[in-house]
């Protein structure tokens, strides 16, 4: 009886300790440099994003160790995601995801993991998109373009990246909503997409505001629609597709942070805490503003619903477009 009492006493003491400590010292902190996996090569969108975040985290003093960007490119995000699967349950590794992490595994039999298997840390930004044409184009708004595309099905052309990327998915949803048809041409690099638009080899492209801003200011490009719920503060005169009567769902492009599958609650909690504090800093707000990103902050546990809904929506769009869906 006495021993039992002592045990209970110890138990209470431990519980009390447990209740007080988490606020003061996190259960886990990195003790060596942290790998930050990206699925693009040096200079790719995700690579630049990761390097910027790594630098900001350091400047704000939020992570005691260095974040080291590791490029694992191959088959879109396939190689990077498989690398994370190999690191199952291990700490000191995080990764930066984008929308293709959701869509790509749907059409790829080589993919071993989906974004559902990974540990969700934070969704950080939503990248808005717009429709741009050359400045001497006859299309003054999205309706002009759609009308012409209906008149000459398949003859108008859009430059873009991968067919599982946001720009092609956007085309598919608008085509479905309006009945118009045009051609999507893939180019491997962003610089070729713009060069072909400027050279008149294609009529239109889906572009991020940050990329379009300077070309619009220089008078090379004209933006004819915002692919957002509300007008963009940086382009207040450009009406959204909804305003122009195009009733197509929006395809979000999200960026954020995940960790390998099966990471312990302590590690996941640590990173959630870091990014929770990070999104409140001024340097983060300044970064969003400079890059014309939308704040897309979602804490880890809330990301499940976002990924689920996006997966269902994207599977439907890709299936209708005739892509081979493997899962």
């Amino acid at each position: 009886m006495r021993t039992k009492m002592r045990e209970i006493g110890v138990l209470f003491a431990l519980m009390g300790w447990g209740l007080v400590m988490p606020q003061a010292v996190p259960a886990w902190t990195p003790t060596r440099p942290v790998e930050a996996v990206v699925h693009t090569g040096p200079g790719g969108g995700s690579d630049i994003f990761a390097r910027a975040i790594a630098d900001l985290l350091q400047k704000e003093g939020l992570v005691p160790q260095r974040l080291q960007v590791v490029n694992k490119s191959g088959g879109g995000p396939t190689v990077a995601m498989a690398y994370l699967a190999e690191k199952k349950g291990q700490d000191h590794t995080i990764a930066f995801f984008t929308g293709v992490w959701v869509t790509n595994p749907l059409t790829r039999k080589e993919a071993k993991v989906t974004v559902k298997d990974l540990t969700h840390i934070a969704r950080l930004v939503l990248e808005p998109a717009m429709i741009a044409v050359k400045s001497d184009s006859p299309y003054k708004n999205a309706k002009d373009f759609i009308e012409d595309a209906k008149k000459r099905p398949g003859q108008l052309r859009q430059s873009g990246g991968s067919v599982t990327g946001r720009d092609n998915l956007t085309r598919l949803v608008i085509e479905k909503a309006t009945g118009a048809k045009w051609t999507f041409i893939s180019f491997p690099s962003g610089r070729e997409r713009i060069a072909n638009l400027l050279g008149g080899n294609v009529e239109m492209m889906v572009i991020e505001p940050q990329e379009a801003r300077e070309h619009v200011r220089a008078g090379n490009l004209r933006v004819i629609a915002a692919l957002t719920e509300k007008r963009l503060p940086s382009f207040p005169d450009v009406p959204t597709t909804k305003e122009q009567g195009i009733d197509a769902p929006l395809v979000p492009q999200a960026r954020g942070v995940v960790a390998p599958p099966g990471v312990s609650r302590d590690v996941a909690g640590y990173w959630e805490g870091v990014f929770d504090r990070f999104v409140k800093t001024n340097s983060w707000k300044k970064y969003l503003e400079e890059n014309l990103f939308e704040d897309g902050y979602l804490k880890g546990p809330q990301m499940n619903k976002f990924f689920d809904e996006l997966t269902v929506q994207m599977r439907e769009i890709l299936k209708e477009a005739g892509a081979k869906i493997v899962r």
Partner: protein
Amino acid sequence: MEALSDLLLGLSVALTPANLFWCFVGVFLGTIVGVLPGLGSPATIAMLLPLTFRLDPTTAMIMLSGIYYGSKYGGSTTSILLNVPGESASVVTCLDGYQMARQGRAGPALGIAAISSFIAGTVGVLGLMLIAPPVARFAVRFGPPEYFALMCLGLAMVVFLAGKSMIKGLIATLFGIWLAGVGTDIFTAESRFTFGMMELLDGIDFIVVSIGVFAVAEVLVNLESQAGAELFKVPKGLRNLLPSLQDLKDSRFAFVNGSVVGFFIGVLPGAGSTIASFLSYGVEKAFSRHPEKFGTGAVEGVAAPEAANNSETGGALVPLLTLGIPGSATTAMLLAALILWGFRPGPLLIQENPVLFWGLVASMYVGNIMLLILNLPLVPLFAQILRLPYFVLAPAILGISIVGVYSVSQSLFDVWMLGVFGLLGYLMRKLDFPAAPLVLGLVLGDRLEQSLRQALMMSQGHLSILVMRPMSAGLLLLTVVILLMPVAGKIRSWRLKAAEEGI
């Protein structure tokens, strides 16, 4: 005149002590990166980026671009000495550079590479200053049909690379094009010839294949010949270690050709220095009075591709200057770095930040001079490496090849692939198949297929788009002319023979 005042503004920036110092750091690091096979300039720039956040942006740009063009100087070193291409653009340099080294002319080869890099690097910067706006309009007109035609022209270079048997050259090219098809098809996001292996999803890295079929195959072939036999002669005396006046005279046309070809290819956002180096080699051989010397140690065969490779740097900045579009992957990386410094890269960047851009351009003049001064004294030093007995050199070459290939993407799979392609290269040597056309097919194959499919998507499947556009038609016509050259040569020799026999 505006160019002159811009340049003076740039020089006032570039010649400050701090900028001179960082420019030197950049070109020095670049030379090292270039000498080490595998490690490329985009990866190095990405790694060093965080360190430059504390520098003034102009200074940082000067240093980072120093790495970019500095690496092109260094790339030729291992190509010439060890037949290990240091950078993808130095593959062509192996063909004649390594043969020169075997003949005891490693010094002159390295010297010519440095001199032609200097000349072309400077010409590239001059072109950037003087003719950028009209050239940029040309770059934008260059759509998928034109790229397809350019790739056809590039593939026609097989005529100059095939060696003895044209059939074997063509087979090697086709095999290269097939290899380029391995990986993910960007138009459907489906994988091809990957056999379920994830490592193949991004295709087969060009540097893995070229180090395999050049360096590893060479070691294997040499091992077979008498062990310990002296492979290289290294003459004594400094004079024999530097290019002679005759070498410089022989390379006159190559300097011009390489500079011009490199510059114009550099301007195109969808081409690159590897293509430029192959094209300029072909042009050089086509116009040479002794084409039979190419591949056996012709000094022009080193000068032309090295020049093309370096003037490409100036060309790649043209679309950036005039349109705000980077001309190459490394320029794109530099541009992205500017965002992190709070700049807004785009068409107005240069107009609104003249100090940044012209300081950079002026620093490229200065950097090219530094590189020449840095590299020429290294020539005799590097040439000494060949004094090593082959039983030391052979494992060293294999070691460098393996480390180089591994460092491309830190993948052991690539090292296995290196072995596979080394064996393939060995078999090809035994069966007298030339290796260069294989590499040519691999470099151009991807782009060939992409641009053809893009062009046909543009025209809704009508092949006429390839000949209806003047630039594309012109390039295709040139391709046909080049392909007919060996046929014409054959016919002439038959007729001569027939005439002789008839008498």
